[in-house]
């Protein structure tokens, strides 16, 4: 039912309000004594070397791509899992289907694994 989502919207509004109050309150109440050292990036006390817009390992990007591929497959499994028992009542073909689908998923994982996409060194 659509009315199930009204409380969620209310909760979103209240939680966002709570976060906004928290964000604003220290600006009003807290002291303000800025100085150049306090406003510089924290690097364990030594003088800063460059800024933080640096390159990071491409591995993180690879993980994100693999995640998107596998997560979409996981999402496909959800509706199927909910109706699994209903479909079983009509015959065992749904199980065969599942084995094929999961087989493709496992094949993909095995391929990434063999190619070294999951290695981290």
């Amino acid at each position: 039912m659509l009315s199930d989502y009204l409380p969620i919207v209310l909760l979103l509004v209240i939680a966002a309000g709570f976060a906004a109050v928290n964000l604003g309150i220290t600006h009003l109440v807290g002291p303000r004594k800025p100085n150049p050292v306090k406003l510089s990036p924290y690097e364990s006390g030594v003088p800063n070397i460059g800024d933080a817009r640096l390159r990071f390992s491409v591995k993180f990007y690879l993980v994100a791509m693999l995640f998107i591929i596998f997560d979409i497959e996981v999402v496909f499994l959800y509706p199927w899992a909910v109706v699994f028992k209903d479909l079983l009542a009509q015959g065992t073909f749904v199980f065969t289907e599942m084995v094929v689908f999961l087989g493709v998923l496992v094949l993909g994982l095995a391929y990434v694994w063999r190619k070294g996409g999951l290695e981290w060194d």
């Binding site: 976060a19 928290n22 997560d71 996981v74 909910v82 028992k85 199980f95 981290w120």
Partner: protein, 345 residues
Amino acid sequence: MDYALESLIKIAIVLGVIITTVAYVVLAERKVSAYIQNRLGPNRVGPWGLLQPLADGLKFILKEDVIPNHVNKAIYLIAPAAILVPALMGFAVVPFGDTLMVVGREVQLIISDADIGVLYILAVSSLGVYGVVLGGWASNNKYALMGGVRASAQMISYELSLGLSLIGVLMIAESLKLSDVVNLQATGTVLGVLPAWFVFNQPIACLVFMVSVFAETNRLPFDLPEAEQELVAGYHAEYSSMKFAMFFMAEYAHMITASALIATLFFGGWHLPGVDPTDSSFALSVLKVLVFAVKTAFFLFVFIWVRWTVPRFRYDQVMRLGWKYLLPLALLNVLLTGLYLTLNR
């Protein structure tokens, strides 16, 4: 109108309880860690340090809010809200009790019994990763950037096994509604003696879920994103006063939702063996809420217990565990559950 008012009251109570619990879980964490390390922990503010959370809260508000010069200001300000709001919203679909008769109305003890409960929780809790990445990047600090990048890769990796581990449960429950999942566990037994909790039906799923949840909440042994010895504080290194507190609150609110979810999905929710699940008299309804609270508190204790007992993984170990062990294990669980249901249809 009545429905909206009822929802508002429930939301106010739940948010109040969550925020108070967050404050006291922080105290519990300090107390438990102290006792594990043979110390006393906070004991000056009030008896047993019970007023410490109040003092901490006041201090957070009264401290200077430093916004460094080099940050990307708009994103820097949004990030704490972007992590706190999803953390507070996750609890919306968790049933914290059965029904309760209040002034002649039968109130269901859940903010929203949405049909897509499980999916909603997975979706909302994964939004938290935006706050972490944005906060880490906008801080323009090397530690914060590394923390944010590590956190994003870790959280999305474990989200896969988190999502997959629940498939087996859903195949048996035939519903994404959390109240249906609890009701199913309240009746029947496993092997004749054990209650029909999913921890007994789906032990592999329970194991994978619990490990993944530890990684999702960035708790030890998976706290790489904020590994103090390497990254100072990770993605919130440049945040101070209440903004730092918001990251903190979000982490603990995530822990509370995670504990409540473990209790709901695998340990019967508000169900206590021996108590009639259909009886909704006032005393029993209150008892069910208490049972749920005790189960959640227990898993919160487990979170703290593990943190102060287990050392941190290396990053390659974290990724290996997620992709090479938990993911195949979760897939195997789906296959085994399907095979079992097919053979016993």
